[in-house]
Amino acid sequence: MTLGAFIQEKNKPEGWNRPLAMKPDGDGELLEVAMGPHHPSTHGVFRMDVSLDGERVIRLKPVFGYLHRNHEKLAEGMSYLGSMPFTDRLDYICSLTNNWAYALAVEELTGQAVPERAEYLRVILGELTRIVNHASSIGFLIQEMGASGTPLMYAFKARENVLDLFEALTGARMMCNYMRFGGCRVDASPAWLEDTRKVVAGLPQFVDEFERLLTGNEILMARCQGIGILKPELAVNAGVTGPMLRASGVNYDIRKVDGYGIYNRFPFRVPLGEHWDVYDRFMIRLLEIRESIKILEQALKEIPTGTVMDSKAKIRGFRPKPGEAYGRIEAPKGELGFYLISDGGPNPYRYRVRPPSLINLTILEDMSLGQNVADVVLIFGSVDIVLGEVDR
């Protein structure tokens, strides 16, 4: 055996001989490629062990856990407040929605009410986060298609304005740690609201620019249409949520279904996909940005005055009654839920995150079978994951 062959034999990924999910078409040898964990298109440390028949994928094994940080167990040994900054680090692009979901769960546990103004602020911040997430996820998707980063840069430019707003309000650009049990940490000044109005007024222009650059592009259409089809039945059965599910034509948006917070006051539409492919996921995200802008405009118009935090609300040293609570929101990536059990102590007895990224990723193999390797990269990009949330 040559040295090269020896090294190859040694480096066979674990589980490489799992039965094939699909029959190869000829009698040719299969090529085992480990894409990741340091492959340029795997969004961080994710690995796909792919078996290729030519360039066709006939088996795909997602391998994750490289970024595991013991989030859930850590939270069980920490006060309720102490976990809040760690939720920022789950899906680090949308830290504010993570805060929100966790705050909702704890509020459900303690029965704490939230002031009106805080609810409005949460909606504003949540929708800004959604816009940022969808824009950059589209940017990353096109980047994976090889567009030299132009759409990504445009998305990041829009994101920059929003991040400036976040910094001015919460003190940090990404790790905001802003929401508290029973409201928000600090109040927004009138100047901040004015700045936000300005930024929101500039957003439609950005979306138009994005649309002109991308939606009609023949190369993009040829690459994205008809690949990575996710049937609605499978999507529902696998628990896929968020834009992925809506792109599969299932009308399920927790903002509509659950009406958490004050979302039932906002009339907005839910775009649905009809072809269930990567292009639909891309377009659904783009259309959702437009809907979010509408929500933002309304929220900024209606935001009442008042406090953002109940003065009697305790943020630390409280002991909820024994019981359980599940708080869920429509995070940009899907249903983000926090499940808490209290045994009456200062720490949660059980703490569990329902991460949309991880659950949306479970159908990666089903979407990729029979597709080209190049398409697998796009399908993976269209799932829109953040490894911080997948591995926790």
């Binding site: 040559t2 078409d25 000829g26 040898e29």
Partner: protein
């Protein structure tokens, strides 16, 4: 006969020999490419520009790539462990010698091949070749074209059948 000729001839021979003697098939193919390049240079040395460039275009640009692809697709790129020489190498040598002798005889006895007296380089331009191909040699040209088209269609049909079988 200049120094250039001997250098090129040595290069060509070395390439040819390496193609036969090397163990790794991809190395053999690359050595063969060197031989092709040498041949092209010989043409150029004789001022036969069209032939020389066509040699490079066809042999290096197409045939060598084809050979290399064939090797890779049939998984012959690994270096064999044992000897690569055939047991019937003697018979091969005899055949090679016979072919060489015949070709050599033909060349020596040809009237046109060996220039007598000071070599008057025939200045054949591309235009002349084109005119010749389109007038005097038009029939062979068309026959060759037909043959190639037939081969092309045949290849397509074979590929299509394979695809259908796979389905």
């Amino acid at each position: 006969m200049s120094i250039a000729f001997y250098l090129i001839a040595a290069l060509t021979l070395a390439g040819g020999l390496a193609a036969v003697l090397l163990k790794n098939t991809v190395h053999c193919a690359l050595a063969l490419t060197v031989a092709f390049a040498g041949q092209a240079l010989l043409f150029l040395d004789l001022d036969a520009q069209f032939a020389g460039f066509a040699q490079i275009l066809v042999y290096i640009g197409a045939v060598a790539i084809l050979v290399v692809f064939a090797i890779l697709l049939t998984k012959g790129s690994e270096t064999p462990k044992g000897s690569v020489y055939s047991r019937h190498s003697f018979a091969g040598l005899v055949i090679a010698a016979a072919v060489f002798a015949m070709l050599g005889w033909a060349v020596i006895h040809s009237v046109a091949a060996v220039p007598r007296g000071p070599a008057a380089t025939p200045s054949v331009t591309v235009l002349d070749i084109g005119n010749a191909l389109m007038s005097r040699y038009v029939l062979p040209l068309e026959i060759v074209a037909l043959l190639l088209t037939a081969a092309l269609i045949g290849a397509v049909i074979i590929a299509m059948h394979e695809k259908e079988r796979a389905k």
